[in-house]
């Protein structure tokens, strides 16, 4: 052991070892490893306001530069897939709607399309039911993108955007409430159709909204797009090109911001999307700015689809004609949400023994789904939402797996953030638009 002025040192097989006792020992090791005491590990989340819910990031920092990011998920795991196996096929829609809570109607749509494919009744879904589904999915896409704009604005310092985004979303939630009785977690799409028809008042509200939102979108753009801070925080930040996206399974607006116009509504249409005229917006910058541009443009495209859907809406049945599957009730929006309409209850209780038996059997027992498995994918606001449903021929799902885009896309955070600044982790993470309810299910 020798003394070099500050600390005792000795040679070992691993190299020189210092025994430090003083307060200024960092000056001793500086000459050998200038970085060793610069590196710190920061735990961000799971209750951090800028992580979009309960996402936890373990960051290894060197100064302000991120060396390593490790995302940790699972804090919102609620066992939705397991629970589905203990309810009948119709009840499943009330569970899946709670997964990604900002896009509940997409979860329902993916699940219902999978059940319908298992039943082999995809072609029997009525025109009006499909049109209503498209209409509501696009409204939901707008509300989801508005929340993205609101929260991302807040995280990047544009607090007023947060207020505006949520304000406009309220209009959409009002429309949902008017139709399904609930603002979120609707269980409005059911295997076979939709729970009930759109009231005239809701259609009027949608028409008003079509006039109202474009003006507001112009305001958002006027507020953000020319703003130097917004540009600095988004342009060239969290770049992920097409190769990176495909390797990591990233789909949706993030993939389209890299230039690949992959949108399942166009490439593998469902619910009659092939009958609507709309464009698939893309950007080529592959950064947060590009994702912002793509999402704003998607809101405008969704407005176009909604307008066409309203024009296509013809009177007709909203549920499949097959009485072995069709929900035997007529539902009405009551004060406390949705339930059976009183006239219907009076009719089946008072006049028809057979319909009472039928109602009882279908509601308590449910319908049987032929054994087999299907995979159905739809374009969710965050990318490809896949539902892998397996039936063993019974009245309950044997297994339902939801390939949620938030879960898959979150894997891209390290690729986007490592080597960049800490502040860009926030921007990059926000640009993926993760919703932990969907990620953790």
């Amino acid at each position: 052991m020798t003394q070099s002025g500050y600390a005792t040192e000795r040679e070992t097989t691993e190299g020189r070892v210092f025994t430090v006792t003083g307060g200024d020992w960092d000056t001793v090791t500086e000459s050998i490893d200038p970085l060793s005491n610069e590196k710190i590990v920061v735990n961000m989340g799971p209750q951090h306001p800028s992580t979009h819910g309960v996402l936890r990031l373990v960051l290894e920092l060197e100064g302000e530069t991120v060396q390593e990011v490790r995302p940790v998920v699972g804090y919102l795991h609620t066992g939705i897939e397991k629970n589905l196996e203990y309810r009948n096929w119709t009840q499943g829609t009330t569970f899946v709607t709670r997964a990604d809570y900002l896009a509940p109607l997409f979860n329902e749509a993916g699940y219902c399309l999978a059940v319908e494919k298992l039943l082999g009744i995809t072609d029997q879904i009525t025109e009006r039911a499909n049109t209503i589904r498209v209409l509501f999915m696009e409204l939901n896409r707008i509300s989801s993108h508005l929340v993205w704009l609101a929260t991302t604005g807040m995280e990047l310092g544009a607090i007023s955007m947060m207020l505006y985004g949520f304000r406009e979303r309220e209009y959409i939630l009002d429309i949902f409430e008017e139709t399904s009785g609930l603002r979120m977690n609707h269980a409005y799409f059911r295997p076979g159709g939709v729970a009930q028809d759109i009231p005239e008042s809701a259609i009027k509200k949608i028409r008003d909204f079509l006039v109202y939102l474009p003006k507001k979108l112009k305001e958002y753009e006027a507020m953000l797009s020319g703003q130097v801070i917004w540009q600095e925080r988004t342009q060239g930040v969290a770049v992920l090109d097409v190769t990176g996206c495909l390797a990591l399974g990233v789909t949706g607006p993030v993939l389209r911001s890299a230039g690949l116009a992959w949108d399942l509504r166009k490439t593998m249409p469902y619910c009659g999307y092939e009958n609507y005229e709309f464009d698939v917006p893309t950007a080529t910058t592959a950064d947060v700015w590009g994702r912002y541009q793509v999402r704003l443009a998607e809101i405008r495209e969704s407005l176009k689809i909604i307008e066409q859907a309203l024009d296509r809406l013809r009177p007709g049945p909203i549920f499949i004609a097959d009485k072995k599957i069709a929900w035997p009730a007529q539902l009405a929006v009551g004060l406390d949400g949705m339930g059976n309409s009183l006239e219907h209850v009076a009719k089946i209780m008072g006049q028809s023994m057979e319909s009472l038996i039928h109602h009882f059997k279908l509601v308590t027992e449910g319908f049987r789904v032929p054994a087999g498995q299907v995979y159905v994918a739809i374009e969710h606001p965050r990318g490809e939402l896949g539902v892998h449903a397996v039936s063993d021929g019974g009245t309950h799902p044997y297994r339902v797996h939801m390939r949620d885009p938030s879960f898959v896309n979150l894997q891209a955070i390290p690729a986007m953030a490592e080597g960049a600044l800490l502040a860009d982790v926030i921007a990059g993470g926000a640009s993926l638009d993760p919703v932990m309810g969907g990620c953790d299910r």
């Binding site: 449910g366 498995q373 995979y375 309950h396 879960f407």
Partner: protein
């Protein structure tokens, strides 16, 4: 409404030795009634699920092109592919577990296959109906040709499946989820740890012999059992 745990009904964590919930073998009865409650006569009904056989060629649509291209590009095709099933307009290739990494490599790289995106990896537990109870299901998407294909492997409990993460990095978390939920071990995965459940959790919750858990709920004097103990109409 109050939630009243009964004696002996406290929620418990994992118990991997618990009895199976959903029997997948031949199903007996019809309304979930056993014993003297059954006056319908349907209690004696036995329903067997037919084993899904390989589909005959031609498969139709693009399925023939996909299987032919794979056969051409993959010398061990006959050995690796156990059966080809076409059902509900979807193509499923049942693959020997030890071959899956080779097959996905060709599925991704071959010019006439080009399955660039691994959309989904998930597990299914066929307890009771298949001795190789744990199935891993891969859904591949070809963006070039706009096709989808499903690959399925089956392993017994404790047998590992080669990881496809070197071919599709996106399978990383999805394989972790399948390990977490079903206990399938993916050999060669860079970091096979739990992803949704806590690190120290015991058991694999999506297995069919893993109980759902729950407590009876009392409402206005009547008690409703937890969902996994209610009558099941089969």
């Amino acid at each position: 409404m109050s939630i009243a745990p009964q004696d002996g009904h406290e929620p418990v964590g994992a118990d991997i030795d618990a009895p199976a919930q959903t029997p997948a073998g031949p199903q007996k009865g019809m309304f979930g009634i056993t014993g003297t409650g059954d006056v319908s006569g349907f209690g004696g009904l036995v329903r067997r699920r037919p084993e899904q056989a390989s589909s005959p060629k031609p498969y139709g649509g693009y399925f023939d092109e996909v299987t032919d291209a794979l056969e051409e590009a993959y010398p061990a095709f006959a050995d690796a592919i156990e059966k080809v099933v076409v059902d509900r307009g979807e193509l499923t290739l049942h693959i020997k577990a030890e071959r899956i990494a080779e097959v996905v490599q060709i599925m991704r790289d071959d010019e006439s296959l080009r399955f660039e995106l691994c959309s989904s990896v998930s597990g299914v537990d066929y307890l009771g109906s298949d001795p190789r109870r744990l199935h891993v299901v891969y859904h591949l998407t070809s963006m070039t040709y706009r096709r989808r294909v499903r690959l399925e492997v089956a392993v017994a409990d404790g047998v590992s499946v080669p990881s496809v993460t070197s071919v599709y990095p996106t399978a990383d978390w999805q394989e972790r989820e399948t390990y977490d939920m079903f206990g399938v071990v993916f050999a060669g995965h860079p970091n096979l740890t739990r992803v949704l459940m806590p690190d120290d959790w015991e058991g694999h919750p999506q297995r069919k012999d893993y109980p759902l858990g729950g407590v009876p709920v009392e409402y206005k004097g009547a008690e409703i059992p937890p969902p996994d103990q209610r009558r099941v109409y089969q």
